[in-house]
Symmetry: D3
Subunit: 73 residues, 6 copies
């Protein structure tokens, strides 16, 4: 299987917070934390829970770029 | 300054391909490659070029999660 | 009225799950199910409920493409 | 700091509705209302509440264009 | 493999238009046309060309819902 | 017709830059400029050109919020 989404970042689930319709999933990806807001249905069906190995997937049109000219962080 | 976008991944520009309207920017982020499709205008104004330090920024609603049950990669 | 969004898929609401801030709407579109995560405010104002005819609308930049080389589904 | 996101609209928070995972933030931006669906975590960390000055930020790939040919609103 | 993206619509590539950075891919999905704007890199790597069977994939947060109250199309 | 997209900002086309696959459309919206990256096909079909009245449309899940604590712009 091949997917057009260019960004695949392997990581581990750290936390899952479930609402009625949405769920927030926090991942550890290398040295960074990532957060995904997905449907609760997805979080349930994928059995997401802390410690599970997953891949974060992002379409190239959804990536922004930030530069830090002038020393402002 | 604080931004609601939850995902900030520091990296380095590897390649910039410019079209008339759009530009594709490839980044090295830790052990992974990331690709951003942005306006050419942005790529020009930010002076993106290989070697430049940048941060990839992604809104939590744009992150998908993939699991690899059953040994299928 | 004309809209730049390229993808318009007519269907019928199958289920609406409402949280405080978000709502998940499941649609039957031809032979497929589709799921939309929208604000609860939108779901209320549009009077979405099972059986209602609607159109799913998606911007071209939000469509990914998957191929299934090698027989992997 | 410079960001590739092309759209920055200064405004004021009008209302914040928090669910478990998501939060809906309504802004007054010039003569228009805008609505953002973000993680509740973001809404908490940014201390969003009515009256606070903020900037709405949108990536160019997420803006659609609507024309109103034929007098249909 | 399981993916959190809720919307998977099987179809066939009808047309591919390639620019320098971006590519527009038109699909036939059931009775509807769909259009994806992806990186040219993706279109090349996936070998997208007319007649190829693919699946259109859309995250639930990227689906909007349109109702046609009052007979206005 | 009613649409779930919460953000509708009336404006005027200022500039259209067309590539092969994508087009960048700049709008004047109140006191702000906005930029949309859409398919060239959309820009052609909608007859977008400087001076044309249009509405910018954004889904709530695509709006980020920025605060400027500490005087950093």
């Amino acid at each position: 299987m091949q997917l057009s989404a260019r960004n695949r970042l392997p990581g581990t689930v750290v936390e899952v917070v479930k609402g009625e319709a949405a769920a927030k999933v926090t991942l550890q990806v290398g040295d960074n934390h990532m957060v995904a807001l997905i449907t609760r249905e997805s979080a349930d069906e994928l059995g997401l829970e802390p410690g599970k190995s997953v891949t974060a997937l992002v379409k190239a049109t959804d990536v922004m770029v930030l530069t830090e000219e002038g020393g402002v962080a």
